[in-house]
């Protein structure tokens, strides 16, 4: 066989492979390149250890049956429809899909609208990055739902968006429409601009100012709602100047109506108490405190008010207001009756939330099943989707994870992650896809090298990546973080470069 012919054959075969592969779900590093979402299978996982995150606790040697995107049954010796995908779960553990209630992992064009003290009108749902590789990587860590939150630059930030990690879908297809509307608030050092290189100082610069401005905005919105309410309808309205529609006030009025939940960045106990008292004065309940570092200092007050706690487990001392953060916080809050969730706030950390839950066991001795609930059922409840996801129970969305061992063990790995009864991550498939992607890359590299003209054009092009950057080829959104919140900077790590730490 001569060389040219052989090459042609190889090309033809490669083409064939890519065409046939298109029919199946093949994970890809680009969401758009995924032709169709994985099929919604009828499937059973047999003989596994199920962490239900319900009153049923941990079920040994049990089965999980899913159909049409829903969990149909959980228990032993289930009746399995003919033709169902049969997964031998022997030795495997199954948990509900992990829910990360504090993420910035897929937000385009800025996590903060940091300009004004209230930017309630901005919406994360307008800027969801369906191409963020974090979506796939977090699936590989067992995460199925994330809450994309505005940053913490202002007292009243933007409206949040809860998405399911349906890698390959459009932004609209990612949205978890059952989620309760929510909005980011922030208290303490960030809204008062303590740690900013600040060319544009704005009111407030103190914690009393933060409290005052929230109260003022609530009053304004209440007035606004009254005016809108009082404006006549129909013919009588014709000659009356209508109140100007105001997207900021609309959002805050929804808070006052109890429709939109507050998820407030908060570190210190005093400021959490402050927000609780302001909220109570307007007859509303704070949804969650986010990070909630000193939650343990007012845990019973939070529980009585009804606010959830969604926290880091062990971040501390990166700012002055984080001095009293302790990893026992989740255990203590749970002891006091607070609904406790653990979150990532970081796209890398989000890939191993099971180990954050394990820390709740390490620090304060939270029961293992309760610890798993802190990354599943509890954040689901906090986001208003507790009746849809976060638990293994009949009628719930089929969002679940197969682990190759105890889900809280450092030695365990995610084998499969399912969302809506679709297998979006499968380690075996992933390993196979790597080979295909590698082959594609090699082929394209060869093509570039063979294309003299292309090569000559490119020589003058400087590499786009700054040499000091440790990461190559990422989208801005994939490395985005709340720059006012903590000290992360994925970019400029060169060896151990402390200069970039802790801004």
């Amino acid at each position: 066989m001569n060389r040219v012919f052989r090459q042609a054959l190889v090309c033809a075969l490669t083409l064939l492979v890519s065409v046939t592969a298109a029919a199946d779900y093949r994970p890809d590093v680009e969401a758009w390149a995924i032709g169709a979402l994985p099929p919604q299978s009828t499937a059973v996982v047999r003989n596994a250890t199920l962490w239900t995150a319900t009153a049923d606790g941990i079920l040994e040697q049990a089965d999980l049956l899913v159909r049409a995107g829903k969990i149909v049954a959980v228990g032993r010796d289930l009746d399995v429809p003919r033709g169902a995908l049969d997964i031998d779960g022997t030795g495997l553990h199954v948990t509900p899909g992990i829910i990360d209630a504090h993420s910035h992992a897929a937000i385009i064009g800025g996590v903060n609208e940091a300009t004004d003290i209230s930017t309630a009108q901005v919406r994360i749902e307008d800027v969801i990055d369906a191409e963020s590789i974090n979506i796939y990587r977090q699936l590989a860590g067992g995460v199925t739902t994330i809450n994309l939150l505005h940053g913490s630059a202002n007292a009243i930030g933007g409206q949040m968006a809860v998405i399911k990690l349906r890698w390959g879908a459009d932004p609209a297809g990612l949205l978890f429409d059952a989620a309760a509307p929510g909005i980011k608030f922030a208290l303490g050092e960030n809204p008062k601009q303590s740690n900013w290189d600040n060319d544009h100082p704005r009111y407030p610069q103190t914690r009393p100012g933060v409290a005052q401005i929230i109260d003022e905005k609530f009053q304004q919105a209440a007035d606004y709602a009254r005016q809108r309410e009082a404006f006549p309808e129909g013919r009588r309205a014709r000659d009356r100047v209508p109140p100007r529609p105001d997207l900021e006030m609309d959002a805050i009025a929804e808070i006052l109506a109890g429709v939109r939940k507050i998820h407030s960045h908060a570190y210190r106990a005093d400021e959490m108490r402050m927000l609780i008292t302001v909220a109570e004065a307007f007859g509303i309940t704070v949804g969650t405190f986010q990070h909630v570092l000193e939650g343990y200092k007012l845990a019973r007050r939070m529980a009585e008010h009804g606010a959830g706690g969604s926290g880091f487990i062990d971040w501390w001392n990166f700012k002055h207001e984080a001095s009293d953060a302790i990893p026992y916080n989740p255990a203590l809050m749970a002891m006091a009756g607070v609904t406790v969730g653990l979150h990532s706030d970081n796209p890398e950390l989000a890939r191993r939330m099971n180990l954050e839950a394990a820390k709740a066991v390490r620090y304060g001795g939270v029961d293992e099943h309760e610890a798993v609930k802190m990354i599943t059922a509890n954040p689901a409840d906090q986001l208003g989707v507790g009746n849809r996801t976060g638990r293994l129970a009949a009628g719930m969305d089929a969002d679940f994870v197969l682990w190759n061992g105890h889900p809280l063990s450092v030695y365990s790995r995610v084998e499969q992650t399912w969302v809506d009864g679709r297998r979006f991550f499968d380690r075996e498939t992933d390993l196979a896809a790597r080979a295909a992607l590698d082959a594609e890359r090699q082929q394209l590299l060869a093509k570039v090298l063979a294309d003299d003209e292309a090569d000559s054009e490119a020589e003058s092009e400087a590499s786009e990546d700054e040499p000091g950057l440790r990461l190559i080829g990422y989208r801005e959104s994939e490395l985005a973080h709340d720059q006012f919140c903590h000290a992360q900077d994925f970019g400029h790590v060169h060896g151990i470069d402390f200069r970039r730490g802790n801004r």
Binding site: V29, I133, R137, A140, N195, Y296, L298, A299, R300, R301, E304, D314, W316, N317, F318, K319, H320, A322, S323, I326, Y328, L332, M335, P347, E348, L349, R352, L355, A358, V361, R362, Y363, G364, E368, L408, S409, V410, Y411, R413, D430, R434, L437, P467, G468, L471, I472, G473, E478, H486, A487, V493, H494, G495, I496, D497, F498, R499, G501, N502, R503
Partner: protein, 424 residues
């Protein structure tokens, strides 16, 4: 042989007038340098382990600590942190991690090591009993120090200082033959060589005294090949360029400090016998299009290729507060292919070796410092509790951890509240 060791140990023990001998008994002892020994005894005299084994006889007057059902491990040796140099990241006055300027060869971190930093007890509670504290500013960053995590002063706490000189290979030098930063480093090293030569000539009485120069004097041991170079580099191309460069410079021992890309040069590192501090397992893959576990498998790839390495945690001022998470980096590397025993060594014995303190630390062996921890299980597992800690032969009060203190204080309050006492 073992009897001899014990006898020698006891002899040594008798020599110390006031030091009490302590025997940790009944635990499963994991020396790391060898297989685990069940129901073993660790005999501690003064700062050091004097004997260790399954059926040691315990001399009279020994304080016996019954650790049945427990496990004893050497303390973790952090291969690269900012512990002691930083307190609250966003408060500049508490941060001494990074000096200005590019040539900081004469900086010694141990002199600024805050022995009462609130970060130390918190991280001791996580089993970090030794830290290699590293300077972070400029190209030639100064010398690092291996420090015990407990003591009444930094002078007390020094295990080894200087531990080595730190040079950050300029990232731009990988693609630019005329990189100015690299030229600055080279010029400085050449001056150090010249200075050293002049100094030697002076000392031999053959030349006048060369002018004093703090920076060049600090570099003299490095250019003489007598000091370890910690060479920091980032991505594959930078690592390769750094290695090529270091080869020409004829340093003595080199430890490469690098991110997950180091896996791509594993074979060369193994062949050249260059040790590696893998700077973090919990990292994003270097390239967007790389597999999700690219950073998680780096340690396993180094191990397969036969590279000498230790696992670090990315370091940095932000990382220092949570240096206690170091063992989990190693554990997660084990979830992605690194054998468990290698994972444990990568945060105990191997960093001690790379830092030149393996005579002192890193495993449980007679003659080494009794710097160890008592756990209820595998110390790389997150759920494992670290129950007791000894540093330099003395038991450490884990209640010194601010976290533990606040926990206990507020636990009591919440218990009362739940029981219906006290207001909210």
């Amino acid at each position: 042989m073992r009897t001899l060791t014990i006898l020698l140990g006891l002899l040594f023990a008798c020599g110390g007038a006031t030091a009490q001998v302590t025997a940790l008994t009944g635990a499963t002892v994991h020396p790391v340098s060898g297989p685990a020994i069940e129901n073993a005894t660790v005999l501690i005299d003064g700062e050091r382990i004097v004997a260790l084994g399954a059926d040691l006889s315990i001399p009279d007057g020994t304080r016996v600590v019954d650790l049945r059902g427990r496990h004893v491990y050497p303390g973790f040796v952090h291969p690269g942190s900012a512990l002691g140099l930083t307190e609250i990241g966003s408060v500049a006055g508490t941060v001494d991690t990074s000096e200005m300027g590019e040539i900081n060869a004469a900086l010694r971190v141990e002199v600024a090591f805050n022995h009462d930093s609130a970060l130390l007890p918190v991280n001791v509670a996580g089993g970090i009993l030794t830290t290699h504290t590293v300077p972070g500013g400029g190209l030639i960053r100064g010398s690092s120090a291996v420090m015990a995590m407990e003591g009444w002063s930094w002078e007390d706490m020094v295990v080894k200082a200087p531990a080595g000189m730190h040079i950050a290979f300029p990232a731009g030098a990988a693609s630019d033959g005329d990189n100015q930063d690299l030229q600055l480093i080279e010029r400085t090293l050449d001056q150090a060589r010249a200075w050293r030569k002049a100094r030697q000539a002076f000392e031999a009485g053959n030349a006048p005294r060369p002018p004093m120069n703090d920076q060049l004097a600090a570099l003299a041991p490095l250019v003489a090949g007598e000091q370890t170079l910690f060479l920091h580099a980032g991505k594959e191309k930078e690592i390769l360029a750094a290695l090529d460069w270091a080869e020409k410079q004829e340093f003595g021992s080199i430890v490469l400090v690098a991110g997950p890309d180091v896996q791509y040069v594993a074979e060369r590192l193994a062949a050249d016998g260059i040790g590696v501090i893998l700077d973090g397992v919990y990292e994003m893959p270097t390239r967007r299009w790389e597999p999700y576990d690219m950073a998680y498998v780096a340690a396993a790839k180094l191990h397969e290729a036969g590279v000498r390495f230790a696992i670090s945690d990315g370091g940095g001022g932000f990382g220092a507060t949570n240096a206690r998470n170091l063992p989990f980096h190693a554990g997660s590397a084990a979830a992605f292919g690194l054998p468990k025993d290698a994972a444990l060594k990568a945060v105990t014995l191997w960093p001690a070796e790379l830092l030149g303190v393996a005579e002192e630390l890193g495993s449980l062996e007679p003659g080494k410092r009794a710097t160890l921890m008592v756990t209820d299980g595998d110390p790389l597992e997150v759920m494992t509790a670290i129950e007791r800690v000894w540093i330099n032969g003395a038991e450490y009060d884990l209640g010194r951890s601010k976290h533990r203190q606040l926990f206990e204080r507020y636990r009591e309050r919440i218990q009362q509240q739940v029981a219906g006492q006290g207001d909210l």
